[in-house]
Assembly symmetry: C2
Homo-oligomer: 351 residues x 2
């Protein structure tokens, strides 16, 4: 994307920023020395360094980003494109991602794709044009062309939130499918046979798709491969969860356990169950995924899968920085997501 420039005359009464030149002149050394004093302190005599630092402070100097980026071919900027910051899971991970980045002297450029592939692609191009040294992306589900584009530009990209062993690209995340399978296994173990699912849209969202698969895996494993598994796909949101739950329960043979693709949908389901006078977990069990705080304050508390969001953000930052710095081969990092069994899951009614 090429945006139209707006020429602005230097506003009157405004000091030009001090430059390396100014610092050098004040100290009485060359710009090269100042630059070194700032970037490689130990390549400069101690006395010089001290004077440089004092001058920098006096002048309130800070390096010009554009010039620096141009000369060093590095921006120390990392771009992240997430579906939306409104979803707490991403906001939380992004927060720890940013903190970790900062500790290493990187800043964060963010963009949201609203779960739309074209928008994600556009954002990727924008961030690359902005000089991002590396990119954080969510999930593997995207056109191969994009990765080719990034490879050609030599820009490392790290996928987060998913860990698919069949994909060679480095990623930091957990196995959504296995985690959901573990949860579904527990549900089946308790005796449930009629399951239902409320999922986020699976198109372009491999995490959501993997979770649905996980449930199917568990069914197959229990010799129930042919059992019907009604799945309702719906956008993110409490109300959507409520509506989907009602739809599921209005079927001829309503499920005794409703597995939701995320906690927010589950909370919606829980609420509607209460409104409909359906006992949870007495008549129907409900489970979530993510383990937001939300999951602990509902009544009953929500059985869910705990995802280590913060850790994922931090790991992603460290891994991505390693990639950007070209250190060795980037290897994927697998985190574990474990079950949190709470009150919303119990054996099915005896009837």
């Amino acid at each position: 994307m090429i945006d139209p420039p707006a020429t602005r005359p230097p506003p009157a009464g405004r000091l030009p920023n001090p430059t390396l030149q100014d610092v050098a002149a004040l100290v009485g050394v060359s710009t090269a020395t100042v630059s070194r004093a700032l970037n490689f302190p130990d390549r400069v005599a101690e006395a010089t360094r001290t004077r440089v630092i004092a001058a920098v402070h006096d002048l309130g100097y800070s390096p010009n980003f554009g010039a620096r980026a141009m000369a060093s071919r590095r921006t120390h900027t990392i771009g992240a494109i997430i579906p939306t910051m409104e979803n707490a899971i991403f906001a939380r991970a992004l927060q720890s991602f940013q903190s970790a980045l900062r500790l290493q002297g990187f800043t964060l450029l963010v963009a949201a794709s609203s779960y739309r592939p074209e928008e994600e692609e556009e954002q990727i191009r924008t961030l690359v044009a902005r000089g991002a040294d590396g990119l954080l992306l969510i999930g593997h589900d995207r056109d191969e062309r994009i990765h080719r584009f990034l490879d050609r530009r030599g820009i490392p990209a790290l996928v987060c939130w998913a860990l698919d062993r069949s994909v060679a690209r480095p990623s930091v995340g957990f196995d959504n499918r296995a985690a959901m399978q573990a949860l579904a296994r527990e549900v089946l173990r308790l005796g449930h046979r009629r399951l239902g699912m409320i999922s986020a849209a699976t198109a372009g969202n491999d995490r959501a798709a993997a979770r649905v698969h996980g449930v199917r895996d568990a069914l197959a494993e229990a010799g129930l491969a042919d059992a019907p598994l009604p799945v309702i796909e719906t956008p993110y949101g409490i109300d959507n969860g409520s509506a989907a739950f009602e739809a599921l329960m209005s079927r001829a043979a309503p499920p005794t356990a409703v597995l939701c693709g995320n906690d927010v949908l589950a909370v919606g389901a829980l609420r509607r169950a209460r409104q409909m006078g359906i006992a949870v977990p007495g008549r129907v069990s409900i489970t979530g995924f993510d383990d937001l705080e939300l999951a602990q304050i509902t009544d009953p508390a929500l059985t869910t899968v705990h995802v280590p969001h913060r850790k994922m953000g931090t790991e992603a930052a460290l891994t991505l920085i390693r990639m950007v710095q070209g250190e060795a081969f980037a290897t994927s990092v697998e985190l574990t997501a474990d079950l949190r069994l709470r009150g919303s899951l119990a054996p099915p009614p005896a009837d």
Copy 2:
């Protein structure tokens, strides 16, 4: 084409990004013309423009950000420093802020201060050094020096989330104090006389401080200026809300209404009330502030103050862009925050 003496060997197997030069060479015009074709389409002959665009496409050219920033002295980048993305209110506003920014061709640089003034200051300097054209800050409570620094650099800063008529700086937000006063007034109207408050730390957080003031205002207005108002300050978090609630209720004359500085603290209070067997709103009323989704799923639903987070984000983006483009004088935008009366507030027990 003759290779210029290569300073640094281009990393193996990686194409250097195409430059304006490359495009110009391919089309057979000067770089100036290409630049103009891209930035001021109508200052170039139609035929030329078409060829330039084709070449840009062929080469996959996108302008080098650093060079552009340096030559034009504008980055089309806006920085935002918020306390934390983990708090849904900020994440939500940030999301709409970013969307609005993008529509105008700006990208977002974000940083979090963790509610620490020194950290905020450091982040401000970092973002300025990164070339942010403008800054979004939360609240007015910061050292005057910082604004002087920004003014000197000619970088417009917009304050969000607060609207204090005694401060001249432009802001987009609502009157925290008046909003809380309105809520407290309602509480008093119902007959409550012993109030208690759970607040976020007020030091360096003018929103929190204003809300406490609002309650005092309401008391004074009702001729109860001398009534004791126990206020417990505690960090953000459900558990902290719970602990504070318990502390408040353990006092000699426990309050009949507990006003919380935000919904999350209120949810914690609500939960502890249930654990302690204290009926809400039967024995004690509890209120929040923000109106997160959370507020609607608790039982009873939470009476709170609705804050138009998304609208605030969008307005902030538009206002800030206007400021950056030097259009006229930046004026503050006042949004309204209104009461949402729900089940958690009722008259005090008759005893």
